[in-house]
């Protein structure tokens, strides 16, 4: 299986094409089968992954446009491996739990195409290929929101599309410029990210390029003040759309920072620590407060998602292995936990066709299983130790403490404010007496819902108790990257800021 990555990328797409000729009745089963195979393939990738190797593995290179150095170039390292597995997992779980019945065939095909683009983004090592998948991922999501969404779906989907598209165009300009500089310096064209890593750019170039990439990634993350598309997108998207959007699409932004911005522009990244951290802190505190004032359950989760992404951003710019590894781990944790929370909101929406908190109350008595799973996910979301939410958040804050104690204290308020809004929605919807007549007869989780949520609960607990199998490869790759950044940085302050872990220092 040398071409495992290509198979991973194109299998869903080919299966999606075939999906057009599948009978409507069996479309769902077909989709789940394909997603399962894809998930198993990604697990196979994990098992054959060499944990001790921090570099790129399963590399595939096929020249596409040799004249300008565009190659079909794929590979994974510890950082992308687990995001990829999470992508296939969440697609599978999302598809299993899906309650949509209209145009189910189109939905399955769309999801499979979306899966291709998402996997593609995380394995691409050529900037053009990366950009291709990055942009392509917008189309299926536009379609999912626009076709299956709520009353404001057209506005929401167009806002989502244009906003992120604008950002990525600026990023494309940045990419072209890097390639141009690369050509000027070496005389050959190349869009391979690994080639670009070797490029030592002057600081002012780095700053401009950092800014270009920043806009592309920051809108996707979404960072304050570019976050306003997300409440609409989540608010209008069907459950499956929100799950994928929160779990995977947002991670593309943070992944971009780790894959491009840090290793390519180490000096600019170090200079950007303070502004980025300030924006992240605004994200953490401000959106947590906005989440608190929401009246719609799904909007609370949507804003909380932004708040948690703030923690991830803070970790990336901690410039030490603790922070960045924690950040990558937090991406996974946020993907699974917020995905699960959106699915849980979907469960109640399917029953009551409303997401307004004031409509609920006392659900714990009516739907105990639902309440238990919601409770576990809530605790993971607020970062309780021994759930998956803790190691990431802890490491991020720990890592960032080295950069700035004051900012860490401010960022640490996330553990308080997160508890405030999460416990509020839990109390309002699950505790107290059952006030509404229609809530008294609600059925608890059905088999389909239970079997899609229980695996997530198990993962949340497993990776909370024993994160090592995931954290170790991430940490290896992150350490290697930091080591590389430290060697590459031009300015002294960047060298001072980037902390290479002692275990790595001994090797060198």
């Amino acid at each position: 299986m040398e071409n495992i990555l290509s198979i991973l990328v194109f299998f869903p797409a080919v299966a999606g094409l075939l999906g057009f000729v599948i009978d409507k009745e069996s479309a769902r089963a077909y989709g789940i089968t394909v997603a399962t195979i894809e998930f198993l393939l990604s697990l196979w990738l994990w098992f054959s992954f060499d944990m001790s190797n921090a570099g790129m593995q399963f590399v595939e290179v096929i020249p596409l446009i040799p004249d300008i150095g565009v190659n079909y170039y794929l590979g994974v390292d510890g950082i992308s491996l687990f995001i990829l597995i999470m992508t296939t997992l969440m697609t599978l779980i999302g598809m299993t739990s899906m309650s949509i019945t209209t145009n189910i065939k189109n939905m399955i095909v769309t999801l499979l195409f979306l899966e291709m683009t998402m996997v593609g983004v995380f394995v691409a090592l050529d900037a053009i290929i990366f950009y291709l998948f990055w942009e392509l991922s917008l189309v299926p999501m536009l379609y999912i929101i626009g076709a299956w969404g709520g009353p404001l779906r057209v506005y929401a989907s167009i806002k989502f599309f244009l906003y992120t598209f604008t950002g990525s165009l600026i990023m494309l300009v940045g990419m072209l410029f890097v390639a141009y500089v690369y050509h000027n310096l070496t005389g050959v064209w190349s869009f391979a990210i690994t080639d670009w890593y070797a490029l030592v750019l002057p600081v002012n170039y780095q700053l401009w390029l950092f800014a270009a990439f920043f806009i592309g990634f920051a809108i996707k993350v979404p960072m304050f003040p570019f976050h306003t598309w997300i409440p609409y997108a989540h608010g209008q998207a069907p459950t499956i759309g929100s799950v994928i959007l929160a779990a995977v699409l947002l991670k593309m932004g943070t992944y971009g920072f780790v894959r491009f911005s840090l290793p390519m522009f180490p000096d600019a990244s170090v200079m950007a620590i303070t502004p980025v951290a300030v924006l992240s802190l605004i994200m953490i505190i401000y959106t947590a407060m906005v989440a608190y004032s929401q009246k719609d359950m799904k909007q609370v989760i949507a804003y909380s998602s932004v708040s948690h992404m703030g923690i991830i951003m803070l970790g990336i710019f901690a410039m030490n292995a603790e922070g960045i590894s924690g950040s990558v781990f937090q991406m996974l944790s946020h993907g699974i936990v917020s995905g699960a929370l959106f699915m849980l909101v979907g469960v109640i929406y399917d029953r009551r066709h409303t997401k307004l908190l004031s409509e609920f109350g006392g659900l714990a008595a009516v739907m105990p299983k639902y309440a238990v799973i919601f409770g576990i996910m809530l605790m993971a979301a607020v970062g309780l130790p021994l759930t998956m939410g803790f190691p990431g958040e802890f490491l991020v804050l720990l890592g960032f403490y080295q950069v700035s104690p004051i900012m860490t204290i401010l960022g640490g308020t996330s553990i308080i404010l997160g508890a405030v809004y999460m416990l509020r929605i839990y109390k309002q919807s699950f505790f107290g007496p059952v006030t509404k007549e229609e809530n008294k007869v609600l059925s608890d989780l059905n088999n389909k819902e239970t079997w899609s949520l229980v695996p997530l609960v198990l993962i949340v607990v497993w990776l909370g108790v024993y994160p090592k199998p995931v954290l170790e490869p991430i940490d290896n790759s992150v350490k290697a990257m930091l080591n590389f950044m430290d060697g590459k940085a031009i300015t002294q302050e960047a060298k001072d800021m980037i902390k290479v872990s002692t275990s790595n220092k001994e090797v060198n």
């Binding site: 244009l162 003040p225 976050h227 306003t228 598309w229 401000y286 407060m289 906005v290 608190y292 004032s293 030490n320 292995a321 603790e322 590894s325 924690g326 781990f329 006392g362 714990a364 008595a365 105990p368 299983k369 238990v372 309780l384 130790p385 021994l386 803790f390 190691p391 802890f394 490491l395 804050l397 720990l398 890592g399 403490y401 104690p405 860490t408 204290i409 640490g412 308020t413 553990i415 308080i416 508890a419 405030v420 416990l423 509020r424 109390k427 699950f430 505790f431 107290g432 007496p433 059952v434 108790v465 024993y466 994160p467 090592k468 991430i474 940490d475 350490k479 902390k499 872990s501 002692t502």
Partner: protein
């Protein structure tokens, strides 16, 4: 021995899982029995470990597996059984075994019986992790774990609706649960910061490695880290200003109050200070702050207990007050005395709470002591237990509280902190007064409950028998003080009274005892013959301030909760929608409008287009010419 460690640790976990299996089904008595037996196994293992440690002096250190490894940070699941942790293990498992058995009787009419045992055992498991961990991160796991279990258990009767503060000061169980969780989270942030400071300065979170590094650290670092850790301790142990959650936590079932909010979880803060004693003994300012705050809280809480009418809240305030004593001792450097008081307090306070539970059970959940009285007739055993526990709490010879509390007050004298000493002595008098005010109002005097049509009955036999170990310990624990001192000072620093104090020790003891007995006598005179309400006193300003807990909960509501809500709404409605989002939409609208207004150029007339084309050509030519000239 290693196996014993794991049995002690995981038996409660197994118990919790077992009960959780039946969590959604009907009440099953065997769930309670199995859970209690597993807890008893945990207790026996802890006892065996204690005996082993006492006889051989070998500290047992085990490492289960790695937890978090990232960068240079290595956190294992490591557990240590040394003198301090074994003391805590004994206290925790003993009290929780008793409370488990007690709960079989107390919760027998509750339909969520099985769920209750699941939560209760989960709490014990978290508490065991907290006390047994060999590193700060493991302690933090337990720390948060007990927080969540406390949240679950306070909010156990979640179906109750919110009411106004006048009707019920804690509003509702779910409200109280959230308050407790969030307050603790505030403190946990402090604790996390403490861990970060420690990690970045010592490179580790293992106790032994950290303590070995301490002498090389600067004073600022030591002080800030000690202070940050203490903020964490303040939350868990409900010290001022994070104390309001503890009395509200009385919304939980009474066994929970006995186990979590009296004997074990709330003492975690004291445990942290004792555990990190090498750090705190190097930071005299922080230690003195701890002692002062502890003394203040001891007095502050006792003052509120003087006038309260709620049976459980009075005991909660006394818990708060006794925690203050423990912090005073720990802050003054007498760590082992703090730990001893922690243990003694756990026994008599759990006993007191369980007795209160019996009363509640008998009185159909009525808590107002003004509506009780004369219960001694029907509830002789409970009266005996509660009286005994109150004597211990008041510090009357020869009960456990006498020895431990007296030692703390002596310490305050010995350290030359006479102000603290005086406050602690006065507080001892107040403690005696309010505990016996409660005992007399509940068990003596006229039977005021009759007009409410309540027919009290004594608790089940087996429950009363289960409470006996606590009663015996409350009675005799004090006599083991010297053996315990010899045992514990293998690990904790010794504390010696000066020659001067030694001479005065008899007098000091007499003063404290005089205050305590005076308090009891005062309570006897005022309340033993029945309730005579003094409306003038009850309407006085001071009384109202005390009865309303110095208006602190209201203050928090007005100045923290409400503004937070208002600011949040402003952020959403004014900032997020009107500024941030509107800006984005306006950019889009501007583009759209520009297109709309320039649309009229598109006349559809070819010759117009050609004119425009010519104009464009000329403009381009001009630009080309100008740029050519400039170059």
């Amino acid at each position: 021995m290693e196996n014993l460690v794991y049995i002690a640790l995981f038996a409660p976990f197994v118990s919790s899982l077992f009960a959780a299996l039946f969590g959604m089904s009907q009440r099953q008595v065997f769930v309670g029995i199995v859970a209690s037996s597993l807890l008893a196994i945990s207790f026996i293992s802890s006892a065996l470990l204690a005996i082993h440690l006492y006889t051989t002096g070998d500290v047992i250190h085990v490492r289960l597996m790695d937890w978090i490894n990232a960068g240079d940070l290595h956190i294992p699941f490591g557990f240590i059984v040394d003198q301090v942790s074994v003391t805590m293990m004994m206290v925790v498992t003993l009290v929780s075994t008793v409370v488990h058995i007690y709960s079989i009787g107390y919760m027998d009419h509750d339909k969520s019986f099985n769920r209750f045992f699941s939560y209760l055992s989960a709490f014990v498991f978290s508490m065991m992790i907290l006390v047994m961990s060999d590193n700060f991160a493991g302690l933090f796991i337990g720390w948060e774990g007990v927080g969540v279990c406390s949240w679950l258990l306070i909010g156990f009767w979640y179906h109750k609706a919110d009411v106004t503060r006048e009707e019920n000061p804690s509003i509702s169980p779910s409200w109280a649960a959230n308050e407790a969780f969030i307050m603790n989270r505030i403190a946990d942030l402090g604790m996390l910061i403490g861990l970060f400071i420690i990690y970045w300065n010592t490179g580790s979170l293992q106790y032994d490695e950290v303590f070995a590094q301490l002498p090389y650290l600067s004073e600022t670092i030591l002080t800030t880290s000690a202070f940050a850790l203490f903020i964490g301790a303040m939350g868990k142990s409900a010290q001022f200003p994070l104390h309001t959650w503890l009395t509200d936590a009385m919304e939980g079932p009474t066994p929970v109050s006995a186990l979590i909010h009296a004997a074990t979880m709330v003492t975690a803060g004291v445990f942290l200070v004792i555990r990190a004693n090498p750090l705190f003994s190097m930071t005299p300012e922080v230690s003195f702050f701890i002692a002062s705050l502890g003394t203040f809280v001891a007095f502050f809480a006792a003052s509120m207990a003087l006038v309260n009418r709620d049976l459980k809240r009075i005991i909660a305030f006394s818990t708060l007050s006794q925690l203050g004593y423990m912090f005073a001792a720990a802050g003054l450097g007498a760590y082992w005395i703090a730990l001893f008081h922690l243990g003694a307090h756990a026994f008599f306070k759990a006993l007191l709470f369980l007795g209160a539970g019996n009363v509640m059970h008998a009185m159909h959940d009525e808590l107002d002591i003004f509506k009780m009285g004369g219960l001694k007739k029907t509830m002789r055993w409970t009266w005996l237990y509660m009286g005994l526990a109150s004597l211990a709490l008041a510090g009357i010879f020869p009960f456990a509280g006498f020895f431990s509390k007296d030692a703390i007050i002596e310490t305050a004298f010995n350290e030359g902190t006479y102000v603290l000493w005086a406050i602690l002595v006065i507080t001892a008098g107040m403690t005696a007064f309010y505990s016996f005010r409660q005992v007399f109002l509940t068990f003596h005097g006229d039977e005021r409950y009759k007009e409410f049509g309540i027919h009290p009955h004594e608790m089940y036999k087996y429950v009363l028998i289960a409470m006996a170990p606590l009663a015996i310990l409350a009675l005799v624990a004090g006599f083991g003080m010297h053996q315990y001192e010899a045992f514990i000072t293998n690990l904790l620093p010794e504390y010696h009274m000066s020659e001067h104090t030694h001479h005065l020790v008899v007098w000091l003891t007499l003063i404290v005892s005089a205050f305590a007995i005076g308090g009891i006598l005062l309570a006897y005179v005022k309340y033993a013959k029945g309730l005579k309400r003094d409306t003038k006193l009850e309407n006085s300003f001071a009384y109202k301030v005390l009865a309303n807990q110095y208006y602190i909960p209201q203050l928090y509501e007005e100045f923290i909760t409400k503004p937070y809500k208002i600011v949040s709404e402003i952020f959403w409605e004014k900032v997020d929608l009107k500024i941030v989002d509107a800006t984005v939409d306006n950019i889009a609208k501007t583009l759209y409008k520009t297109g709309d207004s320039t649309r009229s150029m598109q006349t559809g007339n070819l010759s117009n287009y050609l004119n425009w084309m010519a104009v464009g050509g000329v403009v381009l030519l001009v630009i080309a010419a100008i740029s050519a000239m400039l170059v």
